[in-house]
């Protein structure tokens, strides 16, 4: 119950961080927070309903960012599916190696966004578009570590209650 509350809270927090106002030079390199959180849950919590929540979170992103309805949803669902599928490989890596190994997945996501924008005739500066890949990779160890410690503390408190 508490973990599912924490799960929801992490998703809402990701949405908040995605739309919180940043200075312009920072906003270009804003890490894709929904991507990070969905990626973490898809990778390390095999029981979490990652794909369905990826879609819902993506729809919320689309509404909040005024993107075509379904754009971020599509990208997040594809990413959640890929990470779920490859989780057997990814969980073998330590945290920082997983961060490097996940770069192709983030690239795929950014490319999907870029491609859909192109289909919707939304021309945009294409050189800086790839910045979120770098920032997402850099933030991944931090984000994963924090979510890990959150889950570990939950598990510990549960065990402590069970033991006596």
């Amino acid at each position: 119950m508490i973990t599912s509350l924490g799960y929801l809270a992490s998703l809402v927090l990701a949405l908040l961080l995605q739309i919180v106002e940043l200075p312009e030079w920072l906003a270009i390199a804003r890490p894709a927070w929904p991507l990070l959180v969905i990626g973490y849950w898809a990778l390390y919590a095999p029981n979490a309903p990652a794909i369905a929540s990826a879609w819902l979170l993506g729809i919320c992103c689309d509404v909040l960012l005024n993107a075509p309805l379904g754009q971020h949803a599509l990208g997040l669902v594809v990413v959640a599916f890929l990470i779920r599928r490859l989780s057997g490989i990814y969980t073998l890596f330590p945290l920082w190696q997983a961060a490097l190994a996940l770069i192709p997945v983030w690239t795929l996501y950014v490319f999907l966004m870029f491609w859909i924008d192109g289909l919707a005739r939304h021309a945009a500066d294409s050189t800086l578009r790839w910045m979120p890949i770098v920032s997402t990779t850099l933030v991944w160890p931090l984000c994963a570590g924090m979510l890990d410690s959150f889950r570990a503390s939950r598990a510990r408190s549960r065990n402590r209650m069970r033991l006596p």
Binding site: V12, L15, L16, Q18, I19, V20, E21, L22, E24, A27, I28, R30, P46, N47, I51, A52, W55, G58, I59, C60, V63, L64, L65, N66, A67, P68, L69, G70, Q71, A73, L74, V77, V78, F81, R84, R85, I116, D117, A120, R121, H122, A123, A124, D125, L128, R129, A155, N159
Partner: protein
């Protein structure tokens, strides 16, 4: 604990294969359907989006609160700086009042002159002040959310200005809020004219956050750095005569017949929390009523009786000027040649150019047809 974890993974291993793939295809195709539906302008999706954005307003507020806290430090300023501000504002108000007095007399004069020209006068625009609730945090979409929506009479395509110039236009109307596209967005184009020369062109957003691009300038166009761009009012979406930006840089690649100008917008797009919504009088009526002023500027004072019998061209003339009364139509044909150039020169804003473009084709076939 360990056993339960491995249990759950092995369980989901069996479930995973088909269920995951089915979920993926289902949700991906649903997303694609949504995008296609919205591209077609499905009204149900519009309302769904409005409901969702209404449901997500707490998140928007929460995301805007850090900026408000930073802005809240503003309240803790010293009394002296407030007094200074107050004095500066008073001085500015005085100056502006003085200018306004002059403007009123000019406006009255302009209305008189326009009445002499018998063209429609729509100098006064209705405005509404809107608060900027949020700015789009996607760096490739220059949009802002305003706190006025359909309930306040906001409509799609409405022009948005601030104290210095045009900001953008409304692209989506929710009941209590609306979304505006800024002129620097790469999807945005605005018809402008160069104030010094009257050269008309289109300014497109560059998408880098603070620039406009004028790509369709002929190579020998008379444009200088520092020229003011104002809205030309062509297309009827933006009211004419509002400042848009100033030319900052000219690019003329050797051997190409077009040159490009880069302009910076006048409006402070990324500062301030208020904007003005403008109801431009010409944007409201449909094209049917827009046609009326077309017939009028071709004026009728000069001797309608003397020449009308001489021209059988009078009959075809009524076809283009359909809405106007038949008595003015023959007069229009006889006096067109002298009257069109002055009306074209005197009134650059929206409706008359529309008349300008339709009038010559209407006149051209007349000598041929009879």
């Amino acid at each position: 604990m360990n056993t339960s974890l491995s249990d759950s993974t092995s369980n989901s291993l069996f479930l995973r294969g088909p269920a995951l793939g089915v979920k993926l295809t289902l949700l991906v195709s649903l997303s694609i359907l949504l995008m296609m539906g919205e591209n077609r302008g499905n009204p149900q999706l519009q309302t769904a989006r409005q409901w969702l954005s209404w449901a997500l307003t707490p998140i928007t507020w929460a995301a805007a609160s850090p900026a408000e806290v930073v802005g809240g430090v503003d309240h803790l300023r010293s009394r002296e700086s407030l007094l200074n501000d107050n004095r500066e504002l008073r001085e500015r108000l005085l100056k502006q009042d003085a200018r306004l007095l002059r403007l009123e007399s000019l406006e009255a004069e302009n209305i008189r002159i326009r009445e002499l020209l018998a063209s429609s006068s729509s100098l006064e625009d209705r405005v509404l002040i809107a608060e900027i609730l949020a700015t789009s945090q996607d760096p490739y979409r220059h949009q802002i959310v305003l706190n006025k929506g359909g309930r306040d009479g906001v409509y799609r395509g409405q022009a948005l200005v601030d104290a210095d110039g045009i900001m953008g236009q409304i692209v989506q109307v929710n009941p209590g809020s609306s979304v505006a596209l800024l002129i620097t967005d790469p999807d945005h184009g605005i018809p402008v004219e160069i104030n010094r020369t009257g050269l008309q062109t289109i300014a497109l957003g560059r998408g880098d956050g603070h620039g406009l691009s004028l790509p369709y300038l002929p190579g020998n166009a008379d444009v200088k750095v520092g020229d003011l761009l104002v809205t030309s009012g062509l297309g009827g979406r933006f009211p004419a005569g509002y400042p848009v930006g100033t030319v900052h840089e000219l690019k003329h690649a050797g051997g190409e017949s077009f040159m490009e100008a880069i302009a910076y917008p006048k409006a402070k797009l990324s500062q301030g929390r208020q904007a003005l919504l403008v109801w431009s009088e010409r944007a409201l009526p449909s094209s049917g009523t827009d046609d009326e002023p077309i017939a009028v500027p071709i004026d009728l004072p000069v001797k309608p009786e003397s020449r009308s019998p001489a021209t059988p061209a009078a009959a075809p003339a009524q076809v283009p000027a359909a809405a106007s009364n038949p008595t003015s139509a023959p007069a229009a044909t006889t006096t067109t040649t002298p009257s069109v150039p002055p009306s074209a020169a005197a009134t650059p804003p929206a409706a008359p150019p529309a008349g300008k473009t339709t009038a010559p084709p209407a006149l051209a076939p007349k000598p041929g047809t009879p």
